[in-house]
């Protein structure tokens, strides 16, 4: 059932371990992403290190013993309900609004929204001469939220914020350059101009 690992750095393949980590990840879905990643990383390290101490091949019984020592996913997550919760910035802050004010706790779709806003702002440059507001608003949104999000987050989820901010910044810079006459609108941006404009 459980295969011994030749490389001591690798977590042994075991359905029990996979199920345990899946349960834990699911139980931690409401936690801060950085906290969740850290807990999962530490638990993986714990399991690997304890199993390395076993003599001979790792058995299912060994795995069961390690997981029992760790405790259930519910036990682990239950600690977060009372452990040193970060104090709110203002005493009257409602808990429902706290995630909005903590970029590190923004749900994953916000990053994709920033990326979409940044990406949409670029084709809206086509309408810049008669209807520039959407391009400006989308670009400002992508740039502002993208910068805040990328500064507060780590890991793969940060990329969408960075790219969104970059695209928003590109749109705003292009609009500014055209409006200020730094670049020739007809020469630099022909691809964004409708034939009838």
């Amino acid at each position: 059932m459980t295969q011994p690992s030749r490389d001591p750095r690798v977590l042994p393949h075991s359905p029990l371990i996979e199920a345990y980590l899946n349960d834990l990840e699911h139980a931690l879905r409401g936690a801060d992403p950085s906290e969740r990643d850290e807990v999962l990383s530490n638990v993986r390290e714990h399991i690997t290190a304890v199993l390395e101490l076993k003599d001979g091949p790792v058995t299912a019984k060994d795995v069961e013993s390690v997981l029992a020592g760790l405790g259930s996913a519910a036990q682990l997550v239950g600690v977060l309900d009372y452990a040193a919760a970060p104090a709110p910035a203002a005493g009257v802050m409602r808990s429902a609004y706290r995630p909005l004010l903590e970029p590190s706790r923004w749900p994953g779709w916000v990053g994709y929204g920033v990326l979409a806003a940044g990406a949409l702002s670029v084709p809206f440059l086509r309408f810049r001469t008669v209807w520039p507001l959407p391009a400006i608003l989308l670009a400002l949104l992508a740039l502002t939220v993208g910068v805040i999000g990328s500064m507060a987050r780590e890991g793969p989820g940060r990329r969408s914020y960075l790219v969104g901010a970059l695209l928003g910044g590109l749109t705003l810079a292009t609009l500014a350059a055209v409006l200020l006459g730094v670049v020739d609108d007809g020469v630099v941006l022909p691809m964004w101009t409708f034939p009838f404009l």
Partner: protein
């Protein structure tokens, strides 16, 4: 009536679970006061005392929360027997929090001891 009241009394693990709230994180800070350490070592030491931790794994959410709180910092160090390990150490904020807890705890413990002694 007597049976109902008796059934509501916290006992054993339930009582310990209540008493651990707000205290365990300071035990972790105290453990790290003099020397940085990594998860498994802390879990093995503190987790061995079942009065403190019901299971070794409950340490890890605490470590993550304390780091997020700014009371612990992490560094990676090479290990002689495996992959690099994440070492936790107290930040100045963690030292201050531990000192504040130590002062409060002394008063609190004295008050509880007095209450229990007066009862008996």
């Amino acid at each position: 009536m007597h049976g109902t009241v008796h059934g509501m009394l916290p006992a054993g693990e339930g009582m310990l679970a209540q008493m651990r709230k707000g205290i365990l994180e300071y035990c972790v800070l105290a453990h790290l006061k003099d020397n940085p350490s990594y998860g498994l070592e802390i879990a093995s030491t503190l987790g061995a005392n079942r009065n403190l931790f019901s299971s070794e794994g409950t340490l890890y959410p605490l470590l993550a929360r304390l780091r997020k709180q700014g009371w612990l910092a992490t560094t990676w160090r090479e290990s002689a027997s495996g992959p690099p390990r994440r070492y936790y150490s107290l930040t100045p904020g963690g030292v201050a929090a531990l000192d504040a807890f130590g002062a409060t705890w002394s008063e609190f413990r004295r008050a509880v001891d007095n209450a229990l002694e007066n009862q008996s």
